[in-house]
Amino acid sequence: MNLSFAVRLAARESRHGARRLGVYMASITLGVAALVSIHSFRDDVARSVREEADVLMGADARFSSGRAFPDSVTSFLDSLATEGVGIAYVTTALSMVQAPASDDVRLLQIQAGDGDFPYYGRVATRPAGLWGSQANGSVALVDPAVLTQLRVSIGDTLVVGQARLLLAGTVEDVPTDLGYQAAIGPRVYISRQTLDAAGLLGFGSVARYRAYLRLPDLAQHAVIDERYTEILRATRVRYELAVDQADDISNGVRFLGRFLALVGLGALLLGGIGVASAVHVYIREKRTAVAVLRCLGADQWTVFAAYLIQASGLGLAGSAVGVVLGVLVQGLLPGFLAGVLPVAVETRLSATSALAGLGIGVWVAGIFALIPLLQVRDVPPLKAIRQDFESGAPRMDAPYLGAYGALVGSIVLLCALEAPEPTIGLGFAAGLGIAVAALAGTAWVLARATRRFFPARASYPIRQGVSNLFRPQNQTVSVTLALGFGAFVVGTLLQVQASLVDDLSISFGAGQPNVLLFDIQRDQREGVISMLPDAARDGVEVAPLVPARITAINGVSSDELLARERGPDRPAGWALRREYRNTYRSGIGRAERLIAGRWWDGTPGSDDATVVDAGDLARVSLEEEVARDLRVSLGDTLSWNVAGATLESVVTSVRSVEWSRLEPNFYAIFEPGPLDDAPQSTIIVARIPDPETRAGFQRDLVRAFPNVSVLDFSRVQQALDAILSRVRQAVAFLGIFSAIAGLVVLVGALASSRVQRMREGALLKTLGARRRQVLLVLLAEYGALGTLATAAGLLLSWAASALVARRVFEIPFVPSPPVLVAIWLSVVGLTLVVGLAGSRSLVARPPLAVLRDVPE
């Protein structure tokens, strides 16, 4: 091989080749830009989070618990305070808040704290400088959304439990917010004394207790860790450093960023298909030049090297432009995402990300170009003197096999490296492979079907246009792959989303419960039920809640089990540590199915009807997943700590639970009896269809029982709709991304067959065709191409969305024809616009100029 000649030839040819192949390199540019911007911005966010760790927590460290801190913890917190450690207590709870001015009532988050918190960062209020005033017992501050939800203004009165408070102002910015917290549930900020006075924290109330620490010396952390670990573990109080929280957030950001990077990689690989298709056509057009070079004495590998260098050079140029574009996008992202970022993000040029993007871009361009480039070896020198001479079928020799192997290996490797976890990457690579193979297969079948059922009676331009799909060197498969892939991604996402919305409306729809009442104390139960409107009494479900923790399994204590090495026999930490909210009842719930053992009345499980003799112990039924994670089965014993008393139980049945149904569902259900006298609260679900009756009921209930909270599912539905609208935005982003990548490949594919199209148009015009007819031929071809691609993509998306809906989200798949029609119209419209835009000169140029090869 003569490498120096190959380099010189590549450099000279690239003056013209760059123009021809440049459009394909644009698809590499797009993918590289996506990767570089995602990689760099991911690093920016993670770094900024780490740098702002203390501001994000508002302190250096934090203790937190689902229950009020026990004396052992408060006493060591007091001792820390005497050592100069700043300590601020914050309790968060859910409560109904009433506005006498509008008579509206809403379930809101209550944040009760000391004025000192946060220790770091500044809380912005309106009017300014109000933060801390809520420590005064008669004042409340609120998130701005509360004003609209309760229809109140600054200066009005709010009723929280039994406390009446002056709404002094709004909290505009809390540095400890992670962007989404206020969106989930707007907050009311009050003092801890007010919370106590409001009487909200009854038995079983859903509340979170936190103590924030400002450490004069960060080294004290080690001392606290050493001194108090045992107490914290015993009391199940969590101790967390600001830097650890920041690391968790950084890891979360990185994880998310890696998912996004997969989208970028998808676009890059789509661009790779474009490169392969472009190089294939380019080499076909270069066959005579290759033959001449062979006549003049160039060996196969020299010619191959020359074109490989060209493709790599263009890949390098495309990637370099991509890097620049990616860095520009990186700079714009903080502005676009200001509302959802946990901290103010400062962007920095990341040399690693830029180099990685450049390397990946060149590699993808090169590896996709390799297979079509190997064709140059098959060009016989004889073709220089005999234009019609073709060598036999392409050989499938070692270099071809090696190139295919390298391509598959590279894709798998890139996916594994970019994905959050290698297994996800492998799954993504496999999914891509299946999607591309299925698309190519579907396109092939559809093309065959079009040929088989050719519109023989259609007018000439239509017949000519459709038959162009099968002309030699046609781009049907590559265009179908590019456009079909875009249609497939968008179609799948939109259809899955439509199924989710449909499932939600069923969950909240007719006949389903729509209010959840909780924090009902035992002595309030009958009073609350009596207040329900008559129409709601029939379907009402009442469930006692008994908080409990597991202390031992089969006689082995939880601590001992947790101390064991992780393995298949060790129970999962979450299942062992959590505080369970158990219930007791006589019947099986509507969302439950008994799969193993026997219910209290002897009803057998569907898969296993074993009867367990419980002896004197309490009988308990576990949900199947928690049973699996606790590593227990029928006959195993569980010891529970119920309000300080020990309750021994035996697993006598296992249930599967449909968690998506709005029913009171539980991990552990006891038979009636053993828990009857245990300390407990109650939850009630009911259906109050009329919105006004529902609002009136909530107002009356809050007045009569200020500590009882009502969750109105129509509000939940609104919140879920808000989340789904964000999902829609993400879908739009992914869709636009895929569409642009597909568009670039489309532009390139149509450009590559332009010469052929031009000659055909000129010939038609010479034979007497009018411009309108030539235009009609083009319209028919592009319309057929767009339809073919969309049909392939949408057929596949139908199957994929049905699979995702049923397997991943476990919801019924509901086909959405309007979505499919909209995608079809968009893709065909896009194909027509791009196709016709590139064909203007084709229609306008005089035929003689084309037939005589006069340059444009």
């Binding site: 003569n2 120096s4 000649f5 010189r8 030839l9 000279r12 040819e13 003056r15 013209h16 080749g17 005579t288 030049a289 001449v292 070079l293 062979r294 006549c295 003049l296 004495g297 160039a298 060996d299 196969q300 590998w301 020299t302 016989p380 020198p381 004889l382 220089a384 003197i385 005999r386 340059p855």
Partner: protein
């Protein structure tokens, strides 16, 4: 010297053998100017392709300057062509993406003589009267100018053998005549063996020797009007067969 012994080529057409050349025996002396003529489909171009090592015969063998081409691999034949063989094509076959100068440089750079290559290429282009058009691309040149660039390229490596496939086929009569004159001059100066396939009998008569083909066989082998012909007996006769 070029020798062809019992040369034959058969293609497969629709699964049936289609003989294009049969039993060709030839010896062409060094520095000879030989024209190969015949009607369309007589096998002229196939013979040229086999003599130049662009294709493998299905029967017989070709020896070029003492080298048996059938003993060489595809790439070895390419290297042999790079060093010893020049080509002129009917449709010029300049590489459209290279300038005139770069086209002439191709064979020189292929054998690695880059240092002297440029001077040689410039001299050749000046010799064919294109000193002022060296940086033009083929599309910017007329047909005659393109063929002159092709001539300069063909002689770039001082080949021992030059094959020309209908070099005037795409040119008007006057331009064609100029090209043939130039070809003759360069051939004489470089003392090259020239094998030219042509339809044009006027052009053929300028050769030393005219070989006529029909139906894939040599039907006449006579002296041309281009001077003292060096007609040798067929290779099989030399070999005593």
């Amino acid at each position: 010297m070029i020798t062809a012994e019992a040369l034959g080529k058969t293609y497969s057409s629709g699964g049936r053998p289609l003989p294009v050349l049969q039993g060709i025996d030839l010896v062409i002396d060094s520095e000879a100017f030989v024209a190969v003529v015949g009607p369309s489909g007589s096998g002229k171009t196939t013979l040229l392709g086999l003599l130049a090592g662009l294709d493998r015969p299905t029967a017989g063998r070709v020896t070029l300057d003492g080298q048996d081409l059938s003993a060489l691999t595809e790439d070895q034949r390419a290297e042999f062509r790079a060093r010893h063989v020049g080509f002129v094509f009917q449709t010029f076959h300049l590489l459209p993406t290279l300038t005139a100068l770069e086209n002439v440089l191709v064979p020189l750079e292929l054998v690695g003589g880059a240092r002297e290559a440029r001077n040689r290429a410039v001299a050749l282009l000046e010799r064919v009267g294109l000193g002022d058009r060296m940086d033009h691309f083929p599309a910017q040149l007329s047909g005659g100018e393109q063929q002159r660039v092709a001539l300069a390229r063909a002689f770039a490596n001082r080949p021992k053998i030059l094959f020309a496939d209908e070099p005037t086929g795409n040119l008007d009569q006057d331009t064609g005549a100029t090209i043939v004159e130039m070809l003759e001059e360069l051939n004489r100066e470089a003392r090259t063996t020239l094998v030219m396939v042509t339809h044009d009998l006027t052009v053929a008569e300028r050769a030393h020797r005219v070989i006529a083909l029909a139906g894939g066989r040599v039907v006449s082998d006579r002296e041309g009007g281009g001077g003292a012909a060096v007609v040798r007996p067929a290779a099989s006769d030399v070999a005593g067969r």
